[in-house]
């Protein structure tokens, strides 16, 4: 009996688990032809996190980073207090940046903040290993 209940709860959980490809914003990104070769940079953050604010207000606004991101990535922001992570994505701390291809496959993950030069290097490595 217990096994049956557990199995039922487990399958219910599986049914409820959202895939990244079910996300409407994610779907809309790849509906646009010009984004078809780009990678989604899903930033998982919170308003109260100073490291997240640093990445958004300083690093992402750095000219070199901005140009490289515009060319290869689409930013998708998720808030730790509002949004559940899709199935198969996990985090230890914020900010966490997930790099996702159009099939919804996570190809890389960056945890924490870094200065513009270091972050740009990480982005370039991701593009090279893609």
């Amino acid at each position: 009996m217990i096994k049956t209940i557990l199995l039922f709860l487990f399958s219910l959980n599986l049914l409820n688990a959202m895939q990244i490809t079910d996300d409407i914003i994610f779907q809309n990104i790849y509906k646009q032809q010009q984004n078809s070769n780009k990678i989604v940079l899903m930033l998982y953050s919170a308003k109260t996190c100073p490291q997240c604010a640093y990445m958004k207000q300083k690093v992402f606004k750095n000219n070199e980073v901005k140009n490289f991101m515009n060319k290869h990535f689409i930013l998708l922001e998720k808030d730790i207090n509002k949004d559940d992570l899709p199935e198969g994505f996990d985090y230890f701390g914020i900010p966490t940046m997930f790099f996702v291809d159009k099939e919804g496959k996570q190809i890389a993950k960056i945890i924490g903040s870094s200065r513009s030069e270091a972050f740009l290097k990480q982005l370039k490595n991701i593009m090279e290993e893609k």
């Binding site: 100073p50 640093y54 300083k58 924490g112 903040s113 870094s114 200065r115």
Partner: protein
């Protein structure tokens, strides 16, 4: 026989710490004025423990979790603190002379009146850490994240601040080199008052 007992005493002196102090710490989650010198506490979860005025000289605390622990007045001289977590912990009046603390997590830690001398804190994550009145000499912060941290009443001129994140870091009554000043300004640090760029 004399040689035998002398050897035992020598080994005990080398060990430094007393096992009863470690047992007490793990059982009660507190141990004040205890001796952990030379002890291997690597990888333990000591979060929220109260370990004030204790001796951690030469101890191994690498990868140890000391989240929100109270360590006020403790002595960490020559200790290994690599990858340790001191997130929101109380490190006031601690002695961090000659510590090896690469990649240490000091987010929101209180280091008021701490002593950092010849310490290696490179690649540390120290957002919102409070270094007010800390005595800082020849300390290596290279590649560290010091955003939103407070440096009030410090002399950082002989320490290494290269490649550090200093975004919204507050400096007040602090001595910096010209190079450190221009790096801090580029990083959008906040100079409150009496910051000397020499």
């Amino acid at each position: 026989m004399k040689i035998f007992f002398s050897s035992i005493l020598f080994v005990i002196a080398l060990l430094g710490y007393e096992q009863k102090d470690i047992d007490k710490l793990l059982k009660n989650e507190e141990c004040k004025s205890c001796d952990f010198s030379n002890a291997n506490l690597s990888g333990l979860d000591l979060s929220t423990f109260e370990i004030q005025d204790s001796n951690f000289q030469n101890a191994n605390l690498s990868n140890t979790n000391l989240f929100m622990s109270d360590l006020e007045g403790s002595n960490f001289t020559n200790a290994n603190l690599e990858n340790a977590i001191f997130w929101k912990s109380n490190l006031r009046f601690t002695n961090l002379t000659n510590v090896q603390a690469k990649q240490v997590n000091l987010k929101g830690a209180n280091l008021q009146n701490a002593t950092l001398k010849n310490s290696d804190l490179s690649s540390s994550v120290s957002w919102k850490a409070n270094f007010t009145d800390a005595s800082i000499e020849r300390t290596n912060f290279n590649n560290s994240e010091l955003g939103d941290a407070k440096f009030y009443h410090n002399n950082l001129s002989n320490s290494n601040l290269e490649n550090t994140i200093l975004w919204k870091t507050k400096f007040k009554d602090t001595i910096l080199t010209q190079e450190q000043c221009s790096h801090a300004k580029n990083e959008e640090a906040i100079f409150l008052e009496d910051v000397i760029c020499q």
